[in-house]
Symmetry: C2
Subunit: 578 residues, 2 copies
Amino acid sequence: MKLLRVNLTEMEITEEKLPEKFRRKGGRGLTSEMVLDEVDPEAHPLGKNNKLVFAPGMVTGTSAPSSGRISVGGKSPLTGGIKESNAGTPFAQSLGRSGYKAIIVEGKPEDSEARCILEITSQGAELKSADELEELETSETMEKLLESYDDHNFCLVGPAGEWKMSMAGICFNDPEYRASRYSGRGGLGAVMGSKGLKAIVLEKRIQDVELADEDLFRQGQRKLAEGLREHDVTKPGGTLNSYGTAALINVLNQAGGLPTNNFSSGEFDGAEATSGEKLAEIVNERGGEGEMGHSCHPGCVIQCSNVYPDVDGEEKVSCVEYESDWSLGANLGIDDLDQIAEMIKICNEVGVDTIEAGVTLGVAMEAGVVEFGDGEGAIELLEEIRKNSAMGRILGNGAEFAGKAYGVTQVPTVKGQGMPAYEPRAVKGIGITYMTTPMGADHTAGYTIAPEILSVGGEVDPLKAEGKAELSRAFQATTAFVDSSGYCLFTTFALLDDDNAMEGMVDTVNGVLGTDYTVEEIVEEGKEILKKEREFNLKAGFSKSDDRPPEFMREEELPPHNEIFDVPDEELDKVWDF
Amino acid sequence: MKLLRVNLTEMEITEEKLPEKFRRKGGRGLTSEMVLDEVDPEAHPLGKNNKLVFAPGMVTGTSAPSSGRISVGGKSPLTGGIKESNAGTPFAQSLGRSGYKAIIVEGKPEDSEARCILEITSQGAELKSADELEELETSETMEKLLESYDDHNFCLVGPAGEWKMSMAGICFNDPEYRASRYSGRGGLGAVMGSKGLKAIVLEKRIQDVELADEDLFRQGQRKLAEGLREHDVTKPGGTLNSYGTAALINVLNQAGGLPTNNFSSGEFDGAEATSGEKLAEIVNERGGEGEMGHSCHPGCVIQCSNVYPDVDGEEKVSCVEYESDWSLGANLGIDDLDQIAEMIKICNEVGVDTIEAGVTLGVAMEAGVVEFGDGEGAIELLEEIRKNSAMGRILGNGAEFAGKAYGVTQVPTVKGQGMPAYEPRAVKGIGITYMTTPMGADHTAGYTIAPEILSVGGEVDPLKAEGKAELSRAFQATTAFVDSSGYCLFTTFALLDDDNAMEGMVDTVNGVLGTDYTVEEIVEEGKEILKKEREFNLKAGFSKSDDRPPEFMREEELPPHNEIFDVPDEELDKVWDF
């Protein structure tokens, strides 16, 4: 295995031997350690000293189920800290089959107008000028690339990345070449854009993944697949497969934890109208190109994605998932799935994170720029981003930025990143994750929703603060490993409830890498990753003050439970006592 | 002596006994300690938990020369840290004669549309509704107030403060009731605006300052006045009096330290055309209402202010000082004093800091929003602030913000505050002050320009880094005391070169307060103030990383000396080794 280093100052590509310490690693574990090793924590995120690291998970590229994830690491323009943002895409699988353990993109061309693409094929890697792709939206970029490349997967940025907006994501294709899969969070698209790298084109199958112990791998694969096929959440015809992640809308609304109107309430009148159940009903009724149970990459058992059709059954967008549905729905007081789908489409085309976009629009509504509930107004605001207007610049740089632009005090962010779809005042554990993860507010960093709301992996009272620091820490550590393995986070629904599936997951990792991880050790391995990420942030100037909720959540009670975020500072700090 | 506490949540005013520990204090020493004592460092700067503290200097209100300074303290919306911003104005003298050692403004009304004024007269203090003043510009606000109040001085915010823009300053009247004197830096105008406090109206002379030792005071006053009248920089007909502070344009240009085109060079072709000498020539030639040697408050010996006339001799604006001349001139590549005067006028009317405005426009030009040297374009950008457009929101929130809006990496700020008119790469000591003062980039916090450029208080090589940490520390400590005394910082030109004047300054303080400060002790007193300010910042989440230059100054050489900012991090940290 090798590393591919791409220097855009010199326009040079070099292959490097993989340092021994990275042999056992993959995904997030790899990107975070490389970022810590190679990026000056005080570097400007959009300057020549920031780097982007792309790494497939440990088992990505094999036939392990639901393992097509790629991690992208770098210093985030949104948070100013370390960022690992992962996506599920066939591109990840191709990278797993490329012979490269990671791609490191560094430097920055003198000419800020220049655009290039990185082409990686069995013939080698090459940088090619691609000025003709400048400022093209994601679908159009994908179409242009498909004219020249017919056996490849793609990674690219939309115009928002080229405009260096800090909510810009990095986009990948899905199995049908839609520009729809995102390493969305943290603005890494702006880092890619700042380097003039418009796209990476990757031949689908350069070389198969070498298995250190094929028998062990196959055994693990069977155990894990079995677990996924049996768990109510992950099984075919189960919750995620039938309704997509948006199944959570009703669940969180009933728990009083669905952030509504810029985190002013935990209940939304329009929950039913924007629920996963309603989504499935619309998709099934309209038929045509619509589809529930769509896969983001081949070999997924869960298949939680979807294709949303318009009233004529023509494809509108893929996909309407819980976070996007909420951020552009409940969070804005908008209860029309067609409008929400339209907004997701704009985000995908311009190339921005739907969560950050929705949270930002919520803040703009708080400032009175448009009214809560005004779907057309919200669409107009996203069109401002698309036009790169001054208003677009305000919105394109995220919720914290928009809040500052308008002097808003109710800004639901941590470390500059907008909060996802779970209200910390109603679900205390996830709040602790938001505040303490090195990533900025991020539900995927330690998804305590499982035991707090879904009775998966145990059952705890979401409104109680007690014991939640330990809970969040355990979830964060396990997640850091899962994000390294290449498995989709949703596999953990099965892993948490099924020891056999958990063992299977570990078996596959050991089967690929020749390692001897045990189930117990993966938490320790996860903690090592967290420590490295935190070390980067501390060197970048972060302190305990950055592990705190926004002031308003300490002071203003959230209906319907009328709770504040009452987790003491010491409890937040305790997450890092290990 | 008492404290006046004004609570805008409850619309209540209370008088409090002055705590003993504040008896010996004034100005910055008072505001910084009160802010540390009373404001949660993690509070939102625009929320109800931030406070504004107004305090006259120790001798302000007496007949001590050049002592009409007021300090305003609070948590800064621009830097997120503690802020003391001071101004020279008759209002300061009236506050010194009010019987109040400080005014503390706290809380925030529920109704964000409500406006009020605080009226302080010999009859007492009162809050009055003033919705009719909403969004009026500063001159118009002043005119309206003058219709009702004829023996008062005024403190007010322009619309930028009400719009909570983080470059909004707090405006005071000059002796002729121009809305022209500013506590400009750090966005405290936005804090005042966030509280709905449009203005403070203060009766001119409620009660005279009580002198603890009148003979000592008179003796000190004579010694200081003598020193000011003899020093070449401060004497009548001296440099400051004849050319204003803009006398520095040619000096810094010759030293290669005049930041030009957004800190791309230390030399400006248009220096001569925008110099203090040229300014004086224009003012004297045009005559009419123009005036050099204008005073910002009665009793100033130095008289460095001016009134700039238009081509017909009619008053355009007061005043064209070095920082504004530079920020809106050389920093933007603009060499036309009439255009610069026009821009200063807009800043004064809208109520924003001219330094931050100019540095922000420089960053916008770096982003290509308008071209360097385009005076009309620059004026148009300031008009966008005036209109409160989306572009105005981007610009009105300062240089760091505008840099982020456009993904610019060359952003000359420290702790989020724009750098003033001295290039750190060409004048290393002032760079250390910029980086280490708790205030964010601020020349007045430790004006090492005196020995580095002006041969005042010694003579050291501006390009050398050695010994500059100690130099900056000594200047920062002394300045913290001077900012507490109520004396204009420009008195230090005389104080540094004339032991007798220095003694006189200390005598006046002791004469007023009944203290026994010695010349040696004022540095120690200053250090105590610095420690308190730093304590606030550390609690607010600042770290050593916040005491660093922008990355580009470490990497890109500045013409004509082709120097980078080569002061090591350890040297920067050494400033705080005491």
